[in-house]
């Protein structure tokens, strides 16, 4: 009997020692904690396409490419972001692209290899640039530090850090050697492991970045240097979806299937089924010459509507078309319907299987044209301008004869001397159809009609904004305003009209007047 009591402490000791091992079970055995970088790159690249889309989904309306059929739609027509719970873009940068880049970079650092490390830094830089151009100030130095109320760095600081990341990325790629792990088409869905193309891409990102500030930082030489370096080895950076996708994960977000691969895509599904081209966009696409009524790219960017007519609606006003044919009395007026407009689906960029552009080569030509234009090198500007148009038309599959005809039309300047900035910007606008970068250009130019002839303030934008133009996207309402209220207040982001405050480069821009 007494032996039992003697046994108890012994038993306890035995139990306790074996216990501590049994307690080490808090790592999910069904999920890895880290993987080789080649298994992380596809997600980064695919998520970057989603990230770019998550900006474009909204900026396409602010850039006058398209407008909602409903003149009451809060964000698209009224420019009211105050009731938006989540926008997606914030998450796509910091989490879906950014945190995965960091995870891949960390692993490559542990492994002591450089190729994925360099690509990771370049992608992180590209993602930061995409994000800050919509959001302005954002955490950089205190990001990814586990801090729930990080300090928001100014956009100027963020820009400097992005430039540094790009240089570091290029430096890493230069250090890459044969002992690095394989990077081929299964992991690198953009360049199939061609590091020189990645370096050219990094220069392209740098050119895009430098262009945004060149006007007030006297930076056009740097822009030209970057763009020329890039063009010497550049190959289009586009994310390709399969020809015949079978599930939403394989579909372009702009596609007619309105892909929604998971619940977190809910806030960014496309609404092209309820949207039409604007009159501004149509005016840019209208040549109005015999045999050349429209820019041939119109039929590549959109597909014919039911009535095969191509009207453009006034931005924000719903299906309101300027100069809509007045019926001869006593016939009742028939208002425009969706069928009077082009179908926005199944264009070059808007089919389920469309590629999604990161940076296109023609953008580099237009960057070069703009920079050269301001360096008064009109000859270079003119060549780049023509090159950009041609490249874009070829990409969209326009026949060479039509390209020639279009290039000879009144829509196109025929000599360097008559080239105006609006020529470059309008052509860039068309070439970057639906891309978020266009919104950057519009804001750099303060929505100025000198750069964008015919642009007008949308009639239905809420009177609460007092005629101000939309300038940015709001921070994530569901997290930043809850966890970081003081920083939000410091930035002024708590104001209802916060999104009408220009970001740093738009505020500083000298191109607005």
């Amino acid at each position: 009997m007494k032996n039992i009591f003697k046994l108890i402490p012994v038993l306890l000791i035995v139990i306790l020692t074996s216990c501590s091992k049994n307690l080490d079970i808090n790592i999910d055995p069904k999920q890895p904690v880290t993987t080789a970088p080649n298994l992380r790159l596809p997600a980064i690249l695919g998520n970057m396409a989603y990230h770019l889309y998550s900006h474009a989904r909204f900026s396409s309306y602010h850039s006058f490419y398209i407008t909602s059929r409903y003149n009451t739609s809060k964000v698209e027509a009224l420019w009211n972001y105050n009731d938006v719970t989540r926008l997606g873009a914030w998450r796509w940068h910091y989490f879906d692209v950014g945190s995965n880049c960091l995870g891949m970079i960390e692993r490559a650092e542990v492994d002591g290899t450089y190729n994925y490390r360099g690509v990771g830094k370049i992608m992180l830089a590209f993602s930061y640039l995409t994000a800050t151009d919509s959001f302005g100030d954002m955490p950089y130095k205190e990001a990814y530090k586990g801090i729930y109320y990080p300090k928001y760095d100014t956009q100027e600081v963020v820009y400097a850090e992005i430039a540094k990341l790009l240089n570091d990325g290029i430096a890493d790629l230069n250090k890459s050697n044969a002992s690095d792990p394989t990077m081929n088409g299964t992991a690198d869905l953009i360049y199939q492991g061609d590091l020189n193309k990645w370096k050219a891409f990094a220069e392209a990102v740098k050119a895009r970045l430098l262009l945004h500030t060149a006007n007030f930082q006297n930076g056009y030489d740097a822009v030209l240097s970057a763009v020329n370096t890039s063009l010497s080895g550049f190959s289009d950076a586009v994310f390709k979806y399969p020809t015949t996708p079978t599930k939403d994960w394989e579909r372009n977000m702009w596609g007619a299937s309105i892909a929604r691969p998971e619940w977190n895509f809910a806030e960014i599904v496309n609404m092209l089924n309820n949207s039409v081209s604007t009159d501004l966009f149509m005016s840019y696409m209208t040549v109005g010459e015999p045999g050349l009524k429209f820019d041939p790219r119109l039929f590549k960017l959109t597909t014919p509507g039911v009535k095969n007519t191509y009207y453009g609606a006034k931005a924000s006003e719903g299906l309101v078309v300027p100069n809509w044919p007045v019926p001869i009395p006593p016939a009742d007026p028939v208002p425009p319907v969706m069928d009077d407009f082009a179908n926005l689906y199944n264009g070059h960029w808007t089919a389920d299987n469309s590629p999604f552009p990161y940076i296109l080569k023609e953008e580099l030509y237009f960057i070069k044209a703009e920079a050269a234009f301001y360096k008064a090198d009109h000859a270079t500007a003119f060549d780049a301008y023509k090159e950009g148009i041609k490249l874009n038309m070829q990409r969209l599959g326009v026949a060479e004869s039509e390209i020639t005809a279009y290039l000879a039309s009144s829509k196109i300047k025929q000599d360097a001397a008559s080239l105006e900035i609006s020529d470059i910007m309008v052509q860039k606008y068309i070439a970057l159809y639906l891309q978020a970068e266009t919104w950057v250009d519009l804001r750099r130019y303060g929505y100025n009609a000198k750069a964008y002839p015919g642009i007008y303030y949308p009639a239905k934008a809420s009177s609460e904004w007092a005629g101000k133009w939309i300038q940015r996207l709001p921070y994530d309402n569901q997290t930043e305003y809850i966890y970081n209220p003081q920083e939000m207040a410091r930035l002024g982001a708590t104001a209802r009209n916060w999104v009408f405050t220009p970001v740093w480069w738009a505020d500083k821009s000298t191109l607005k007047n």
Binding site: L16, C19, T35
Partner: protein, 1010 residues
């Protein structure tokens, strides 16, 4: 089939039932010395054996016994009496009230039975009979109103929806706030993953002997890291020695829909003016007199019928006894295409293996299949589709005879497609199915070393599988559902518990009794799950993963494990039943916390002073003061400390960071510290018992899993968040106001208040909205710093310094748009009452429970949605009426004058002003409701004897028959997302978002004892 199994088990037990030597039959009556009334249920045993009988309702008994043997008469609260059997065939016993009077044994933490007199903390007990009178198949619902301090809310009137129980306010902002559930000493699951019913509902209420509710930290302190939310200790019935007794009962329930929201029947479809067929809103012109209007809410809800059969048998011999039961429950519901099918069987036995060694074992098998017509999202919203469906459509018209969908509206212009169908399509064609099979086994070996040392070892496992499927059939409108969609999860869950206990109990010196319990436990949890999501059925009518193209199928496997170990001790000193002092300590080690925070210590100190012992007449009353302090805790969710990768389903595959959880290696256990003071009285010879408690409980470092700032690189993370407080008062009065020979009225009044306050948030957080409690932006379920925890924040109208509503120049009130996160509601009731009554008159008994609630706000998001859609009754009442808002208008000089401008309450006002202002939908709710009325009749013995039956009872009952409330919507007992809030956690109690009203049901039952 089921019956056959039942009979098989029964006969197995019958075979081993023994026979008692035939001697003489002694009859008699046991009466109370006090009131000369018969004592029902008193034990009459033959001394030295284990055989015995119980007295019937009149106190009469009959027993076979040999001459010279001694009969022992005993009953709780009375002095035990012994009588030797002589030649008399009738032996009556008059039992005197126990001088100590009032001995009552209650089950406390770890199943330890303790004398309630010297208990140093509060434990409230619900008797199985009171629970059964409620006629609720979900045990949690049966506890409503019976426990002071328990806030119980069900998520609605569909049988598969979960109920939530919160003791003494919430302690966690996310995750489960529900108490630990213990059945016969082992932990069982009460989870409701995928929004299914809370799994405690699997257990058969008919098997329950009693439920002890450990509300406070001190009472539950021996559960350590599990004790922050209290504990519910369920004890099932035990085998009774003696001749086999068995009981068969059948009940039939008719369920009807309870209180529903009201709709307007004036305006047809449209958006603000004329008729617009394409609109789902009811903001059109007035219905023409020739247009049909369907009363869709009435047409939708049906009458459900539920059948419930229970059988149990108990008996035993000297060295062993057994209890077994079977239950079959099958029924429909107020929701069409909804069905429950439940079968359970419990076998318990206990055997005296050796002189000092006892073995107790039980096995419980449960099958619970539920098919539900209404499927909701994770925020609830179950019945919104019904409440908002335009009345010009017949809700019952949803398909053609060939089964093809009947679209009430269809538009396909080539560039877009819109299809509208009755919500009945989803109900009839896309139900969700939950199937569970569960086996709970439990064994205990108890060794009595001597008269003061007991050792026991218990080992048990709660194992269940749960299959959940939600099929969306082809033809269902919705962009990605056109070709059908499948979502299935299959999971195996187990809780394994091993407990070793040693008890030392003796008087160390005269009048000083010491009790020491030392023990250790191990608890292991494992959940292995598989889920399948796929779109596009190849063949339209086979709903299986086999019938989904492999490329469209996403499968996932999960394996979650948790191990906990604990050692604990409980030391208690009692001096002369007058002074008691207890101290407990427990150390837990949990695998879910980081290594350096893995060990967690939970102490408690408590004492009581029975001051009535100081008085001369101490035997006729009882008075006690008690005080306690305890610190208990809660560990983290599984796998919250490390970031893992999850598969990337896009092109190229591979892995990406897992958005569902970002690792946090800084987690520590959540701690709750609680002080409790209590007083207990028993007066008028125990006819009146009063128990009151005040508690002050502070929870620190709450473990919260929430969406976190994205710059951290995480989407969701688990972190420690601040501090909150609950203070409250509980009063429980139990009494027998009237007791005569034929008539007894006993009553229990439970009343409680709880006041909570959010004391601290981490970092700079000021308002913390609950992800699943914010159906609309106008108002959200949230916690706010320095405010009651279960709050509602949202928009209000602008007020001037004097508190008047500011009216704009246009005559409409001005929304305070600068601050859309004002604290506009507190979802916790101000005051609760549960008033339980039981009348016994001869062979009749009538019991009913009134439940009163005063104060506390309900967020009527159902009405908000209905108003936005133009279908709520208030739209019908007020639309386009002229109205002058009560308020003041700002003048140019800064002064305010009373508003006099008359305006029209038009579409624009309702949609852009009224429906976006949260305060318009916050209602302070009072209710008085009868939870149940049960009238039972037992056939007198002379008839049952003739029938050769031991008992025959008939019962009529009604559940939720009466509801009186000022609430404008349906039933105000609401909890939109249920206890686990869609998996995201946090309580959504008081959020009415398309709630399915509780059903009002009526039942008839017959029970026969053999």
């Amino acid at each position: 089939m089921k019956r056959k199994i039942l009979m098989l088990f029964l006969s197995t037990f019958l075979l081993v039932a023994h026979t008692i030597a035939q001697q003489i039959t002694v009859t008699g009556k046991v009466t109370s010395a006090d009131d000369k009334l018969g004592v029902p249920g008193a034990s009459v045993k033959i001394k030295g054996t284990s055989s015995g009988v119980q007295t019937n309702l009149d106190g009469a008994y009959s027993i076979k016994v040999a001459k010279g043997e001694v009969l022992v008469f005993s009953y709780i609260g009375f002095v035990t009496q012994e009588k030797t059997v002589g030649s008399a065939a009738v032996i009556d016993a008059v039992l005197a009230t126990d001088s100590k009077g009032l001995s009552e044994v209650v089950v406390t933490a770890l199943g330890i039975k303790r004398d309630k007199r010297t208990l140093t903390y509060s434990v409230q007990t619900v008797k199985g009979d009171d629970l059964r009178d409620a006629n609720q198949s979900n045990i949690i619902n049966g506890l409503q109103g019976q426990i002071a301090g328990a806030q119980i809310t069900s998520s609605g009137g569909s049988p598969g929806l979960p109920s939530e129980i919160i003791l003494r306010g919430v302690s966690s902002l996310t995750g489960d706030n529900q108490p630990l559930m213990i059945v016969d000493g082992i932990r069982v699951s009460n989870a409701s993953s995928d929004g299914t019913i809370n799994r405690l509902a699997d257990f058969n209420p008919a098997d329950i002997e009693s439920i002890s509710v450990l509300k406070g930290a001190a009472a539950a302190a021996l559960y350590g890291i599990d004790a922050a939310s209290g504990a519910i200790i369920i004890t099932t019935k035990k085998g009774k020695e003696g001749k086999m007794q068995s009981n068969l009962s059948y009940k039939s329930f008719i369920e009807t829909v309870g209180r529903t929201p009201e709709q307007q029947k004036i305006y047809t479809s449209g958006t603000g003016s004329g008729f617009d067929e394409s609109s789902i809103s009811s903001w059109g012109r007035k219905y023409r007199s020739d247009e049909l209007i369907y009363n869709n809410i009435d047409r939708f809800f049906k009458t459900g019928v539920v059948h419930d059969v229970n059988f149990n048998a108990t008996g035993g011999a000297e060295k062993f006894n057994y209890y077994m039961s079977g239950n079959y429950n099958n029924g429909s519901s107020i929701i069409p295409n909804t069905e429950t099918d439940k079968f359970s069987m419990l076998i318990k036995g206990s055997a005296q293996l050796a002189k000092n060694l006892e073995l107790n074992a039980s096995a419980n098998y449960i099958k619970n299949n539920i098919k539900e017509g209404i499927v909701g999202g994770s925020s609830g919203g179950y019945a919104n589709g019904i409440y908002m469906y335009p009345l010009r459509y017949d809700i019952n018209r949803y398909q053609y005879e060939n089964g093809n969908p009947y679209y009430e509206y269809y538009e396909n212009s080539g560039s877009e497609e819109t299809a509208r169908i009755s919500p009945m399509w989803g109900v009839m064609r896309n139900p969700r199915n939950t199937g569970t099979q569960r086996i709970v086994v439990n064994g205990e070996l108890a060794y009595k070393a001597n008269d003061w040392i007991n050792l026991s070892f218990r080992s048990g496992q709660d194992y269940y599988n749960q299959e959940f499927s939600n099929i969306t059939v082809p033809g269902t409108p919705g962009s990605y559902m056109k070709d059908g969609r499948l979502y299935q999860t299959k999971g195996n869950y187990k809780y394994q518990t091993n407990i070793f206990n040693s008890t030392f109990d003796r008087n160390i010196i005269k009048d000083l009794r010491a009790t020491l319990i030392l023990g250790a436990s191990s608890e292991y949890f494992e959940a292995s799950t598989n889920s399948f999501t796929g779109t596009g059925f190849i063949v339209p009518d086979i709903y299986s993963v086999n019938n989904i193209p492999a490329t469209n199928l996403i499968t996932a496997e999960g394996l979650r494990k948790r191990q906990r170990y604990a050692v604990y001790g409980d030391f208690k000193l009692d001096y002369k039943n007058m002074l008691s002092f207890g101290i407990t300590g427990r150390n837990d080690w949990s695998s879910t916390l980081p290594i350096n925070a893995r060990s967690f210590y939970s102490p408690s100190f408590s004492g009581s002073f029975t001051f009535s012992e100081l008085f001369e007449n101490k035997d006729s009353w009882f008075g006690k003061l008690r005080a306690s302090y305890a610190k208990v805790g809660k560990d983290a969710p599984i796998y919250a400390t490390y970031t893992t990768l999850s598969p990337y389903y896009g092109i190229g595959g591979g892995y990406q960071n897992n958005p569902t959880i970002g690792g946090n290696t800084n987690l520590v256990a959540e701690t709750t510290r609680e002080k409790e003071f209590g007083v207990e009285f028993r007066l008028f010879k125990s006819r009146l018992n009063i128990e009151a408690a005040y508690y002050d409980k502070e929870s620190h470092d709450q473990i919260v899993t929430a969406r976190v700032p994205l710059p951290t690189g995480f989407v969701n993370q688990t972190f420690n968040a601040g501090k909150l407080r609950n203070r409250g008062f509980e009063l429980s009065l139990t009494g027998i106001p009237v007791k005569t020979k034929d008539f007894t009225w006993s009553a229990t009044l439970n009343t409680w208040i709880n006041r909570s306050k959010m004391l601290e948030f981490p970092g700079q957080i000021e308002v913390f909205p609950y992800t699943f409690g914010n159906p609309y932006n106008a108002a959200k379920a949230a916690s706010m710093l320095n405010m009651p925890v279960l709050g509602i924040v949202g928009t209000d109208y602008l007020k001037n310094d004097d508190g008047y509503t500011v009216i704009g120049g246009d005559g409409y009130p001005v929304i305070n748009s600068a601050n859309s996160a004002q604290y506009i509601g507190n979802r916790e009731p101000k005051l609760n009452f549960g008033f339980l009554n039981r009348f016994n008159y001869k062979d009749f008994s009538l019991s009913f429970l009134w439940d009163f609630r005063f104060g506390g706000d309900v967020y009527n998001a159902t009405r908000l949605g209905m108003t936005s859609r133009g279908i709520s009754k208030e739209v019908g009442d007020w639309r386009d009426q002229s109205f002058t808002f009560n308020g003041v208008v700002l003048q140019d000089d800064g002064s305010y004058v009373k508003n006099t401008k008359q305006v029209s309450l038009d579409y624009k006002y309702f949609v852009e002003n009224y429906a976006v202002t949260g305060t318009n939908f916050i209602e302070t709710v009072n209710w008085a409701r009868v939870r149940y009325i049960t009238l039972a009749y037992s056939l007198p013995k002379k008839y049952t004897d003739r029938l050769k039956l031991a008992r025959v009872g008939i019962e009529l009952s009604a559940q939720n028959p009466i509801l009186i409330t000022n609430y404008s919507g349906g039933d105000p007992e609401v909890n939109s997302a249920g206890p686990n809030a869609g998996g995201g956690g946090g309580s959504t109690m008081g959020v009415d978002y398309g709630a399915i009203p509780l059903s009002r049901s009526y039942s008839i039952g017959i029970s026969v004892g053999f």
